[in-house]
Amino acid sequence: MDFSFSPEQDQLRTQARSFLEKRYPLARLAEIATSADGWDRASWPELARLGWTGASISEAQGGAGLSFVEEGIVFEELGRALYAGPYFSTVALALPALGCAPDLLAKVASGAFTATFASPAANASGAAVDGRRDGDRWLLRGEADLVPDAGLVEAFVVPARGPDGIGLYLAERRDARPLVRVLDTVDATRRLARVTFEDDDARLLAAPPAAAKIIAATRRRALAALALEAVGVASRALALGVEHAKSREQFGRPIGAYQAVSHKLADTYVETELARSLAYWAAWCIAEDDGEAELAASAAKAYAAEAAVAACERAIQVHGGMGFTWDHPLHRYYKRALWIESFDRSGAAHRADIAQAILGG
């Protein structure tokens, strides 16, 4: 029993923190968020060089041969720095399916390939994507909605209905196909898009029975990754709140001396630590393929997302009028926290799953 990071893992965190702090000071967030892509594209080869894009890819395939625990450290630090770029989509959402295409893994590790997961619209339209065989290739038709980072990536992992049920397909982006319409997203650092397939070329990654397993594993990874990111967001919001509470004076004292302020921040600290514990537990379960992985990922996502939202809301309150401005970086953290909370399903829906597991019925 040892719930602590190894010296190598601690070193990875230190390295990630210092790289990201140097490259993405708070002052740069607005510039990146309002740029055309919403991404500092030049950063990607560096992330690959640091070994982050291939952290859990085997050494034989050009990766670092590590596990989701190491990727988890990166997710937390990227959340803390509010990194904008397709790391979540490529490493959390696409990687499990890309495991079926060893040629692509090496490209992910080297930074030459990015992808996201394009699931069918979960909204009222109920539209879906169909896969149809055409000679030795597959053609996809249909619409995927609210796809993260779709405007940034080279390819889409698509769950589509084929002749035998839902399979997983890979559609690479060529000549502006499939059609991607990036939506005006509240969190401009992680934009959502609608992706329309009109008999676009694809390759089959996993046929029906295997595909379902990969989809379940993808969901677990995504939930755990977002829980870790949420922990990063919450701890940065806390740090900003504490910094302000120490320096801002009213009525002749730093506002942090008033318990109405300090106790809010103490609550944020407590919730962030609890979220951290759940997120590390989920990360370990996923790395070890533990039987509790599904429950742990659900619990961690539900709790950490709500903790991050609350952390940002308290930090905004502690900042007073300044916290309500567009210029202050806090709203960007807040919007990421809300993005995370909305992903997959709300905390209440996750708790319903957990209730199902522990209460039955």
């Binding site: 407590v270 619990a299 708790r351 209460l359």
Partner: protein
């Protein structure tokens, strides 16, 4: 990072689990408190058996009768105790507070005299810190401690002292000098509760039981040998006591919460199967329990590295107390009006008792407000609120 038991841990757990299955007396399973003389006799006997089997003082050094094991074994022990719904050792204050304080600040003769009897439950301890005028502001205590010849004379009143009605000894924080800085001038003594001039009056609490007491000290003579630390150096010693009170109880608290959540789940299955609002609240409590458990494991890793309990102890106490209040309240809501009837010993009476008792959880061992102050000031580095 590995959340599984290692081979030695697994063996320890297996042995302990089998031992508990065989040894926990039927009357103590699902234990609710040491109220009444019958429970007390059982409790002493049970504690003695725990000690004889080597489960008391698992982390204490071998030279003082402990098992000299790393902290993780204390965690395993508390988890298994909770799993078996077996009561802890009766000497909670001796084992968790007085003992570690004596180990840290005591002289060799004091260690020899007190520690073994704490483990065997031959001597039960109580804590005489709070006074009518001094609760959260502990450093303002006024109980007088005067050195007269070769002994101290103690005069004053302590209050809310758990176990004092059955205790043999008391760790007492008193004032030996009036100084400008109130943290100076405090002195920490070990008082024999059988000394002339010590009077204990039980206080009835919200549940109707009497587990805590007032203690009156009138010209009580305490030998000089019973001084812990130095005259005027009592605050430092008291801080050791408090860090253990909050710091290492995290696993005991998570264990207690584990039992409570298990019972809540059973209750909800039986009585509230399809109610979506209840299901959501039960799931929340389950998540909070996991969060507390894994926070404890993180704290444990740090404790084993540094040897001192960190601020996570305050986090665990704060969250446990609030979770226990919510959870027991949810249980009596599920039960409904039946929980208003105090008779009997079925589920309604159990939860009614637990719910009322839980109101003390955010007051005892540092109120929630004081714990938030500690987190704000010592962990986050915010300016003092006072």
């Amino acid at each position: 990072m590995d959340l599984r038991d290692g081979p030695e841990e697994a063996a320890f757990r297996r042995t302990l689990r089998a031992w508990l299955e065989a040894k926990v007396p039927a009357g103590l399973r699902g234990f609710r408190g040491w109220s009444g003389p019958a429970a007390l006799a059982l409790g002493r006997d049970w504690s003695k058996r725990l000690a004889e089997a080597g489960y008391a003082g698992l982390t204490w050094p071998k030279e003082y009768g402990g098992a000299g094991r790393p902290w993780r074994y204390q965690a395993l022990y508390l988890e298994e105790l909770a799993r078996a719904e077996a009561p802890q050792h009766l000497g909670v204050i001796g084992l968790g507070m007085a003992g570690p304080t004596i180990i840290a600040h005591g002289r060799p003769d004091q260690k020899a005299r007190y520690l073994a009897k704490i483990l065997s439950a031959e001597e039960i301890w109580c804590q005489g810190f709070s006074e009518p005028g001094s609760g959260s502001d502990l450093a303002s205590v006024r109980t007088r401690v005067e050195l007269v010849g070769d002994h101290f004379v103690v005069n004053g009143q302590k209050v809310w002292s758990s176990y004092a009605h059955i205790a043999d000894r008391c760790i007492l924080l008193g004032r030996s000098a009036t100084t400008d800085e109130k943290h100076e001038g405090l002195t920490y003594l070990i008082v024999d509760m059988k000394s002339p001039g010590v009077e204990v009056r039980p206080l009835r609490q919200i549940t109707g039981e009497a587990e805590f007491n007032e203690i009156f000290f009138t010209d009580v003579e305490v030998p000089k040998a019973n001084l812990l630390g130095e005259v005027g150096g009592g605050w430092r010693v008291a801080m050791t006591t408090l860090s253990h009170e909050r710091g290492t109880f995290g696993f005991a608290l998570a264990g207690a919460l584990d039992v409570a959540v298990r019972k809540l789940v059973a209750l909800a299955r039986e009585r509230a199967g399809a109610d979506a609002l209840v299901r959501d609240r039960v799931a929340r409590e389950w998540i909070d329990l996991q969060a507390l458990r894994y926070t404890n494991y993180r704290a444990l890793a740090r404790l084993e590295r540094t040897g001192v309990p960190g601020p996570e102890g305050s986090v665990a106490k704060l969250r446990w107390s609030e979770a226990n209040q919510r959870l027991t309240k949810l249980a009596i809501e599920i039960i409904g009006r039946e929980a208003q009837v105090a008779d009997g010993d079925g589920a309604p009476a159990y939860w009614r008792h637990q719910q009322l008792r839980s109101r003390g959880n955010t007051i005892e061992a540092g109120t929630s407000e004081i714990l938030r102050n500690i987190i704000a000031e010592r962990v986050l580095g915010l300016p003092r609120s006072r």
